[in-house]
């Protein structure tokens, strides 16, 4: 078969994770391009309404394994289930979220199947590839595009010979889009005893402390982000004021987080969150490559900076040269009128 399989992660709140829905949206487009079926695999404990959560994103069949021991992710039972399903269904492409779960699971599976795995892709495309030495042409394979070397280069990686072609993708990189509200597929219920071994439970989870998800900058259509140039925690209040007025959230650079201006959860960039809002307002941000890696896909960028030569200005659609403490009140005043 030349189907595409998406590993669908289940959140602490027992929903299909955002990143998995984003992947399904992308995989649906790839499946249409390849004329193939889109499969999803869900492993957990009595998750409600998975059909309703997945079919609108274009999933054709769901492989579902529910077991009381699998309320939380554990490497080996998930590994055993996925490797067996992949052997049975022989998908052409398998995709995972680049989350703590996906990055634990996918490499172990790729190692077992001896196939290629590309980490942290920022783009996936279908195309042809000619081997430089043998001149063999591979038709319609997966281009896996990822930053590497600390974000200083972008590499296109292919795995021409081995199947499945596997990749992980960060949350927020692909767009979540409803394919068709009325799309319907089928569910295959898997029995745990057919897929999981007793020995797979050799690592015992003693305790879990999970914080409630309160800040949601990833899904925000508008982000007002502050950098070290904001100067203080008190000044960050202006960003919240502007964000509230225009229906956005507040983001930050690592320098601002390190200086204690705001919470860690707001950090955008290579070691923070990747966002792609409609509008990104960068306030007192220089635009280091590690920061840009998390925001340069924003549709419109406004930069407010005292330095006309700040690198962020080069990717901005609008630049306002000035002190944030002077410019921000003017913007707030303008929008409130």
């Amino acid at each position: 078969m030349n189907n595409i399989l998406v590993f669908c992660e289940v959140t602490e709140e027992q929903h299909i994770a955002e990143v998995s829905l984003e992947l399904c949206s992308k995989a649906r487009k790839l499946a249409d391009r390849l004329n193939s079926r889109l499969d999803a695999i869900v492993i957990g404990n009595e998750i409600e309404n998975i059909e309703g959560q997945l079919y609108p994103y274009g999933v054709d069949s769901i492989f579902y394994l529910s077991d009381s021991r699998l309320s939380f992710y554990q490497t080996l039972p998930f590994f055993s289930t996925l490797t067996k399903i992949i052997k049975e269904e022989t998908p052409d492409i398998v995709l995972f979220g680049a989350t703590s779960v996906g990055r634990d699971l996918a490499p172990r599976i790729a190692s077992y199947l001896r196939c290629g795995l590309t980490a942290d892709c920022t783009s996936l495309e279908i195309g042809d590839h000619t081997d430089a030495k043998t001149k063999t042409v591979y038709k319609d394979i997966l281009y896996q595009i990822r930053p590497a070397f600390g974000g200083n280069i972008i590499a296109t990686i292919v795995s021409p010979e081995t199947r499945p072609q596997m990749a992980t993708v960060r949350e927020g990189v692909m767009k979540k889009e409803i394919y068709n509200e009325n799309h319907k597929g089928e569910v295959h219920n898997l029995k745990a005893e057919d897929y999981v071994n007793e020995g797979d439970f050799c690592i015992e989870i003693i305790e879990r402390q999970i914080e409630a998800q309160k800040i949601n900058i990833k899904g925000a259509p508008i982000i007002v982000a502050g950098g070290y140039g904001m100067g203080s925690k008190e000044n960050f209040a202006l960003l919240h004021e502007l964000a509230n007025a225009i229906g956005g959230e507040v983001g930050a650079t690592r320098a601002a987080v390190d200086a204690g201006f705001t919470e860690n959860e707001r950090q955008i960039g290579q070691t923070g969150i990747t966002v792609r809002p409609k509008l990104y307002i960068a306030c007192g941000i220089s635009g280091a490559v590690q920061h840009r890696a998390g925001m340069d896909q924003s549709s419109k960028i406004i930069s407010i900076n005292t330095d006309p030569n700040a690198p962020i200005n080069a990717i901005a659609d609008y630049t306002i040269i000035g002190d944030v403490m002077d410019v921000l009140p003017k913007m707030i005043k303008s929008i409130k009128n």
Binding site: S100, A110, S334
Partner: protein, 298 residues
Amino acid sequence: MNNKEFQIVVLAKQVPDTHNVGKDAMKEDGTINRAALPAIFNPDDLKALEMALACKDALKDIMPVKVTIITMGPSRAAEIIRESMFRGADNGFVVSDRRFAGSDTLATSYALSAAVKKLGKIDIVFSGRQAIDGDTAQVGPQVAEKLEIPQITYAEDLLYVAEDEIVIKRRLERGVETVKTGFPVLVTVHGNANDCRPRHAKLLMTNKKACSVSEVLERQQSMEDMEALWAKKPFLKIEEWNADDINPDFERLGLTGSPTKVKSIENVVLTSKENKKINNSESEINELMKELVSAHII
């Protein structure tokens, strides 16, 4: 005291310092031109070394413990083994061969696991979560699979270790999880874990002369003198293994053993979009906000 020796391996990589990357950093075939960059101890791997040394501290009163470093790379990677010895590691192996060139994570983990197997029975393998050059975080879990042992990823804190079990706190996106398991196990260590202890003055003195055969040749030192020293103090010899030494299936090494191929590489350059300069005046800022509203952006 139990006289079975507890065996800990730390996988450590010498990496180019990715903070300063210039145009000459990549070769035409898409591989890294390491010679053009300063080389450092991969930061997560130093933390992995610390966790290994903490295990040794906790266990050394009940049984002998040995911490061995394995690194795959060019011969100058012996530097990080010496550095580890200054901090408390017992010995190390440089796995080095041109036949490893072009390895992706699958071929890298295959070679590393073959080297670990050569050491015999191992209780814990520590690795970093991620190397700062390839940035994939794939090698740890892949080595665990090749050794057919369980894995604990993103270890942030070692809570407890005894001769038959280990308790570790793992870092997840939105919290932490505490897990317990027996041995053998592979643990990947997160950047939040404790920093590595500094060099120990006494260990620095004892191990200062540790080096490998390649290093002796490179520095054009007298091989005879070194052989004499190694005969007296064998721990000063940093062993080197080539591909033949780890008994591999040669098809699974290097480029042939790597399913992923780098099709193309692009340097990130700032693309200047059409950029509008807005004056810092009430009227121009007003105009901008109006424009954004009418374009349904806000």
